[in-house]
């Protein structure tokens, strides 16, 4: 790597790519080469900065100036004014609510965040392993191989209190412990990157922005549980993640950080990349294992759990992308450090995709225990357009709806459980008062009826029945009896479904009925809907 006096980082995450960051980068490179400035300025593709709706975003160092919404037409001005003359292009600076130019890192959007998993996302070139190494990439693995036994690593993960970040929130250290203790050879490590929850793209942006953090986490896990082969199952639609991850695996092999006898330790580990093919249910860990084996992606009965009988019947550790990306920082800084972040019941941080009716939409990482209000108002910048907060759906389509009365709830597993919601995988959808809950429920239920794999009866029949009932209520032909039936179906699905899909599909409807029953009743009793989205008259509600 040669030394350049200035580095220009251009976001190449999925969202900025949709907003033409590739032509921006190409135009910038061409203009810099054209002006003979390529010895001074280095253009680097990097991962998501988080404030996706302001994209494409670029940062110019050493000044640390962020430009937002940069288009290819802006490049000439940036080169002439900023690069050649050192003057800031004011019109491209981020403007906060007060319409004042501010530097991005000084905004509450960044100030309230704590980046552990996203430590390198937006800071390094994900296609250059040396940039990752410069920012302590593979130091956690080196420490484990050099100074810790597999048992020490598992103990550190147990002590850290890290809970799985894929949705269920099961203590990660315990999964590691079960797999280490399990008998049977060989053992496998599987990274679940089949992120299918609507509204969630945090795993995608981690994979695109810092693939080496995930490779390192997988290698640490392999060392801890005694596996020498890892698989990552990446959602098929995530082409950029697949492409970057494959490249990162190749580079890690080239540098001897994957392969045999890693860093002279005697430990060998390889990672194979597999692509999903579009089924939501394959994010369920046992369905994913079936799919990896080349079978139909249907969930398995549990027990036996994957730790004992997983991939090809062998002991398998299966963790989510974000869970594995936490492993290296925990080993480097210790379990106590990790526990110092977050809340007592839920240590650490959580990455969310913030979307919906909120001013700042994008990718955020916050300490557990932060309140929903802090996320919506400080980080999210509040509800735009003079509207009121109505509810937040946390955890994706299978997540619960939290109404305004619970805005001050701390975001962690026990507090969310209290209000009938769950942490889920990392979606946070903010909804304002212009939307109708019956209409939203209808959307959720159409999704589940489509994605149910059909293997078990409660889920196959339940998702279709729920859809039919709520469609009827939305169309104005529902009755009070339908509400009772809906409650009975949801109760059966939660208890009797085989996997998480059927068990959690009723959650959004249950919480909608719990907190917004007046809207359901208004549709049934007086044929009125606040939004006009449903097939009934537009009208106000009691509340």
């Amino acid at each position: 790597m040669s030394i350049h006096r200035s580095h220009i980082l251009v976001c190449s995450g999925s969202n900025c790519t949709l907003r033409a960051s590739v032509p921006v980068r190409m135009a910038l490179r061409a203009a810099i080469a054209d002006q003979g400035l390529d010895k001074e300025f280095k253009v680097i593709e990097t991962g998501c900065f988080g404030l996706c709706q302001e994209g494409p975003i670029m940062v110019i160092y050493p000044e640390g100036i962020h430009y937002c919404g940069v288009q290819p037409d802006d490049i000439d001005e940036i080169v002439e004014t900023h690069l050649k003359k050192g003057r800031v292009v004011n019109r491209l600076l981020y403007r906060g609510e007060a319409e004042q130019e501010v530097t991005l890192p000084s905004t509450p959007f960044y100030q309230r965040q704590h980046r552990v998993v996203l430590r390198n996302v937006g800071a390094v070139d994900p296609e250059n392993i040396e940039e990752s190494l410069a920012r302590d990439g593979y130091q956690g693995l080196a420490k484990a191989l050099d100074t810790m036994s597999p048992r020490d690593v598992v103990q550190t993960m147990l002590d850290s209190g890290l809970q799985g970040r894929g949705g269920a929130g099961f203590p990660a250290g315990r999964k590691w412990d079960f797999t280490l203790r399990a008998s049977g050879e060989p053992k496998y490590v599987v990274c679940n990157a089949d992120e299918g929850e609507p509204g969630t793209s945090k795993d995608r942006l981690i994979l695109e922005g810092d693939p080496h953090a995930v490779i390192e986490g997988m290698a640490i896990a392999g060392y801890a549980v005694g596996a020498s082969q890892g698989f990552i199952y990446i959602r098929g639609e995530y082409q950029l993640s697949l492409q970057r991850f494959r490249k990162a695996v190749e580079q890690a092999r080239e540098y001897g950080l994957l392969g045999s006898d890693i860093l002279g330790s005697g430990f060998s580990f390889n990672v194979e990349v597999r692509s999903g093919a579009g089924a939501y249910v394959c994010g369920e860990e046992t369905a994913l294992l079936n799919s990896l084996e080349g079978r139909r992606g249907e969930p398995r009965y549990k027990p036996p759990f994957p730790a004992n009988e997983g991939l090809w019947g062998k002991p398998t550790l299966i963790n989510n992308v974000e869970t594995l990306a936490n492993a290296a920082p925990i080993l480097m800084h210790g379990a106590q450090w990790y526990r110092s972040l977050g809340s007592e019941d839920c240590p650490g941080t959580k990455v969310f995709t913030l979307s919906g009716d909120v001013a700042n939409r994008g990718l955020i990482e916050v300490p557990m225990g932060i309140t929903l209000r802090e996320i919506v108002e400080d980080i999210g910048g509040g509800i735009p357009g003079g509207r009121q907060f109505k509810m937040a759906q946390i955890g994706g389509t299978s997540g619960g709806c939290i109404p305004a009365e619970h805005l001050d709830i701390p975001i962690d597993i026990p507090h969310l459980d209290d209000v009938g919601a769950s942490l889920g995988s990392g979606a946070l959808l903010i909804v304002d008062d212009s939307h109708c809950m019956v209409d939203l429920s209808k959307t959720f239920l159409h999704f589940f009826a489509h994605e149910s794999c059909g293997q078990c009866t409660p889920c196959r029949e339940g998702t279709m029945l729920m859809r039919k009932l709520v469609d009827g209520i939305a169309a104005g032909s529902g009755t009070r009896k339908d509400l009772e039936l809906l409650e009975r179906i949801t109760a059966t699905m939660r208890k009797a479904s085989l996997c998480g899909l059927g068990q959690t599909a009723p959650t959004p409807v249950l919480t909608a009925l719990r907190y917004f029953s007046d809207e359901y009743e208004a549709h049934i009793d007086s044929g009125r809907c606040i939004s006009g989205a449903c097939g009934v008259a537009v009208g106000g509600m009691k509340s």
Partner: protein, 127 residues
């Protein structure tokens, strides 16, 4: 790469190349005036000489940046040196050799190069 030592060597080398992206609170900041006037009088050569000389000498804690025209176009190319805790020093009438001289004497040894110092009205530039 087959050892911890090799990993550390690559890491240190890579860190150096990325130094420019770190927040540097205690860094020495050299700011070259890059208005049209400065550029016309050779500020880019000055800049490149500064980058080259600091890299050659391994001066990791120096940030080289640029600013606009300070209003003294006649004294261009100009550069300011700001050492932490000290007043800014303004240099003028620079060229590549003088820039290298400033790196060697001011940045390395802390010695102000009086020959190139320019006095700006109202500035804290007393040398």
């Amino acid at each position: 790469m087959k050892s911890m030592q090799e990993l550390e060597a690559i890491r240190q080398k890579a860190k150096k190349a990325m130094k420019v992206r770190e927040g540097q609170e205690n860094a020495i900041v050299v700011s070259v005036a890059m208005g049209t006037c400065g550029i016309a009088k050779g500020a880019r050569d000055v800049m490149m000489a500064l980058v080259d000389e600091t890299a050659k000498r391994g001066l990791d804690s120096v940030v080289i940046t640029q600013s606009g025209c300070a209003g003294f176009c006649e004294k261009e190319p100009m550069a300011k040196v700001h050492m932490p805790g000290q007043p800014e020093i303004n240099y003028g009438y620079l060229d590549a050799n003088r820039a290298r001289d400033i790196v060697a004497r001011h940045l390395v040894h802390g010695e102000i190069v009086h020959d190139y110092v320019v006095q700006l009205p109202g500035g804290e530039d007393r040398a």
